[in-house]
C-alpha cells in the first residue's frame, strides 16, 4: 500500500473537521475524494501533508509513519501537492516555478522538457511572471510543478475549479495522461470528471467517509450520490 490514512481526527482551532477518516491508495492507483463543499476533502489532503496535522490517528506512506513529520519531509519522501487555487509563486517566472519544484539533485533541463512537452502552451511564457498567466495556464503550471517534482503520489485539489469548460477539458486530458505515470489522490467537485479520471472513490460527508467503491460502478444518478453531492 502506498498511502494509508487510519482514523484521523483533524481540527481547525476548535472546529472538528475530520472525524475518524480512513482511506488507502495503492501504488499506481488513481483515487477520488468527493463530497460537498466544506466536508473536509481539502483538510484531508492538508492532513496527509502535515500542513494541518491530525490530532488522532496515523498516516503511513510506503510503510513509514509520516504523522507529525514536517511538511517538507513529507514532500521529500515523494508526496506532491497541486493545491486548490493553484498557488503559483506569482513573482517568479514560469521557468523559476518549475525550477523551485524540481529536486536539487534532478536534471533541470529534463524537468523543463517534461513540463513543456506535457503543456506546450506554457513554453512561450517561460520568462513571464507566473502571476501574469491566465487561470487555465496557471492550472497547467501547477500540475507541471507536481509533475517535475518526481513525486510518487500526487495530491490534486480541485483542478477544474474556476476554469472555462474548454480549459477543463485540457486539464482533464493532462490528468488522464498523468494517471498512467503516477499515483493520484484527486479532490474534485466535478463528479463526472472525478469518476472518469479515477479507479476508486471515497465519499466524504461531515468529516467522515460515508461511502467508497469503484468509480466505474457509480453514476451521478445514483441515489446516494444525489443525497451527498447535491447542495
Amino acid at each position: 500500500m502506498m498511502l494509508e490514512v487510519e482514523n484521523i481526527d483533524t481540527y481547525y482551532g476548535q472546529s472538528h473537521i475530520l472525524e475518524g477518516v480512513s482511506l488507502a491508495v495503492e501504488e499506481g492507483e488513481s483515487v477520488a475524494l468527493i463530497g460537498r463543499n466544506g466536508v473536509g476533502k481539502t483538510t484531508t489532503l492538508r492532513s496527509i501533508l502535515q500542513l494541518t496535522p491530525p490530532t488522532e490517528g496515523s498516516i503511513t506512506f510506503r510503510g513509514e509513519d509520516i504523522t507529525g513529520m514536517e511538511t517538507f519531509e513529507v514532500a521529500q519522501r515523494g508526496v506532491g501537492w497541486v493545491p486548490e487555487e493553484r498557488r503559483m509563486f506569482a513573482h517568479l517566472t514560469v521557468d523559476e516555478n518549475i525550477e523551485v519544484s524540481t529536486p536539487p539533485e534532478a536534471d533541470l533541463d529534463a524537468a523543463y522538457d517534461l513540463a513543456y512537452e506535457t503543456f506546450p502552451d506554457l513554453e512561450q511564457f517561460r520568462d513571464k511572471d507566473a502571476g501574469t498567466l491566465s487561470g487555465g495556464q496557471q492550472q497547467m503550471l501547477a500540475i507541471a510543478r507536481g509533475l517535475v517534482g518526481q513525486n510518487d503520489l500526487l495530491l490534486i485539489d480541485e483542478p477544474s475549479e474556476g476554469l472555462a469548460p474548454l480549459i477543463v477539458e485540457q486539464v482533464s486530458e493532462a490528468l488522464e495522461a498523468l494517471r498512467a505515470e503516477t499515483t493520484m489522490l484527486l479532490v474534485e467537485q466535478n463528479f463526472e470528471m472525478a469518476m472518469d479520471l479515477t479507479d476508486r472513490f471515497y465519499l466524504l460527508d461531515h468529516g467522515q467517509v460515508v461511502e467508497s467503491g469503484q468509480s466505474d460502478d457509480v453514476s451521478a444518478d445514483d441515489e446516494f450520490i444525489q443525497r451527498y453531492l447535491s447542495a
Partner: protein, 370 residues
C-alpha cells in the same frame, strides 16, 4: 516677507513676527546644477544611499521571508560598529600603512559578518522561532526586548572600558587610511574619500545580494518562501532552515553595515547608533515596500539623494525658511532644527509615500507566511 507665528506657553499665547527671506526654487535648482555643487550632491547622496541600503538590506530580507519586523536590527549594527572598531584600534598602529589598514578593515568586516551571522542564527532558533505561531505583537515585543538587553550590555562594557557610550567613539577614525580620510577637490567642491569607499561597498552589497537572490538555488527558495511559505514547504523546501539562514545573514549584514558606520565621521560607533540605524532601516524598507529587495535599493537611492540635496542646501541658503524660523526665535523658543533638516526630509518622504502609496514603492499586499 514677515510671517506671524503664534506659540502657546503656560496658557499664554505669544505672537512673534518672523522675517523670512525667500529664495526662489528655480535659483536653488540652478545653483545645484553648478558642476562642483552637482558633484558634491551626487557623491554625497550616493555614499549615503550605499550606507542606507547596506543598513536596510538585512531587515528587508528578514521581513520578506519571515514576516518578522526585527527591532533589534539597529543593535546588531551598533555591535558591528564596536566590534569592528575594537579590532581596528587594536590592530592598527600609527606605523600601519594604508593598504594594510584596508586589509585589516576587510578582515574585521568579514569576521563581524561571520560572527553576527552565527549569533543571528542562534537568536532565530532559540528566541524568535518559539513565537512564530503567535500574533506579530509577540515578535515585536521580543525583538524590542533584545534591543534593551543588547544595548544595556553594550553600555556596561563600553563604560567599563572608559568610553562614553552616548557620543561617537573617536578612536576608530584614526585608523582610516589617509586616502579615505582625505578631502578632494572636485570642480571646486570638497569630497571626502570615504564617500567613494561607501559607494563602492554599497554597490558590491547590492550586486552581491541581487546575484544571491536571482542566481542561486537558495536565493530562489527564499524568493519562493517570501511569497508563499506553506507552498514552498510542500515542495520539499525546509523553510525553517531558510528562516535561520536569512535571519543570520540579515543580522550579519546589519553588523557589517555597523563596521562601515564605525569609520564614517557622520556616524561613528556609539550606543545611540542603535536607534539611528534602526530608523534609517525602517524608513528605507517602508518607502521601498516591506520585504522587497528592489524597493529597498530604489528607496535607499531616493532617500540618499533627498538627504544629500538637503545637506548641500543647508549651509548655502540661510533662507531655508524652515531652518531660519528656529534661528530667529528668542532663546526659550529656539530649537536646533537646521541640523536635523536632512533627517526631517527623510521622514517627510516617508509620510508622503505612506499617504500616496501605503504599501511602498514596490510593496506587495502581503508578505511572509508560515
Amino acid at each position: 516677507m514677515i510671517v506671524e507665528l503664534f506659540f502657546q506657553s503656560g496658557g499664554t499665547l505669544t505672537a512673534l513676527d518672523v522675517p523670512l527671506s525667500s529664495t526662489p526654487v528655480t535659483e536653488v535648482l540652478t545653483d545645484a546644477m553648478d558642476p562642483g555643487a552637482l558633484a558634491r550632491i551626487v557623491l554625497d547622496s550616493l555614499s549615503k544611499a550605499g550606507l542606507y541600503i547596506t543598513i536596510a538590506v538585512g531587515l528587508t530580507l528578514i521581513f520578506g521571508l519571515m514576516g518578522v519586523l526585527n527591532f533589534a536590527h539597529g543593535s546588531f549594527a551598533m555591535y558591528g560598529a564596536y566590534i569592528g572598531g575594537v579590532i581596528m584600534v587594536v590592530a592598527v598602529t600609527s606605523g600601519t600603512g594604508d593598504l594594510s589598514r584596508l586589509v585589516i578593515f576587510f578582515g574585521a568586516a568579514a569576521f563581524v559578518l561571520a560572527l553576527m551571522t552565527v549569533v543571528g542564527g542562534a537568536i532565530e532558533k532559540k528566541l524568535i522561532r518559539p513565537v512564530y505561531d503567535r500574533p506579530p505583537l509577540f515578535q515585536i515585543l521580543l525583538t524590542f526586548g533584545i534591543v534593551l538587553v543588547l544595548d544595556e550590555a553594550a553600555r556596561i562594557v563600553v563604560e567599563w572600558r572608559g568610553i562614553t557610550p552616548r557620543s561617537r567613539w573617536e578612536g576608530p577614525f584614526d585608523t582610516l587610511p589617509a586616502f579615505l580620510s582625505a578631502r578632494y577637490d572636485v570642480f571646486g567642491s570638497t569630497i571626502r574619500g570615504i564617500w567613494l569607499f561607501e559607494i563602492a561597498v554599497g554597490a558590491v552589497i547590492v550586486v552581491g545580494v541581487y546575484l544571491f537572490l536571482t542566481r542561486t538555488r537558495y536565493g530562489l527558495y527564499i524568493r519562493a518562501g517570501s511569497e508563499d511559505g506553506e507552498m514552498a514547504q510542500a515542495l520539499g523546501i525546509d523553510i525553517r532552515q531558510a528562516f535561520t539562514l536569512v535571519f543570520g545573514v540579515g543580522t550579519g549584514l546589519a553588523a557589517f553595515a555597523g563596521v562601515i558606520l564605525m569609520w564614517d565621521p557622520r556616524f561613528g560607533a556609539s550606543v545611540p547608533l542603535t536607534i539611528e540605524a534602526l530608523l534609517i532601516a525602517f524608513v528605507i524598507v517602508i518607502i521601498g515596500g516591506l520585504g522587497t529587495f528592489k524597493g529597498t535599493v530604489v528607496a535607499g537611492v531616493l532617500v540618499g539623494f533627498i538627504d544629500g540635496f538637503t545637506t548641500w542646501m543647508l549651509p548655502n541658503y540661510d533662507a531655508v525658511e524652515f531652518a531660519l524660523v528656529s534661528a530667529v526665535l528668542p532663546g526659550e523658543w529656539a530649537i536646533p532644527m537646521s541640523s536635523n533638516l536632512p533627517e526631517a526630509t527623510m521622514f517627510l518622504a516617508l509620510v508622503v509615500v505612506l499617504i500616496v502609496r501605503p504599501q511602498g514603492l514596490y510593496g506587495i499586499e502581503e508578505v511572509g507566511g508560515h
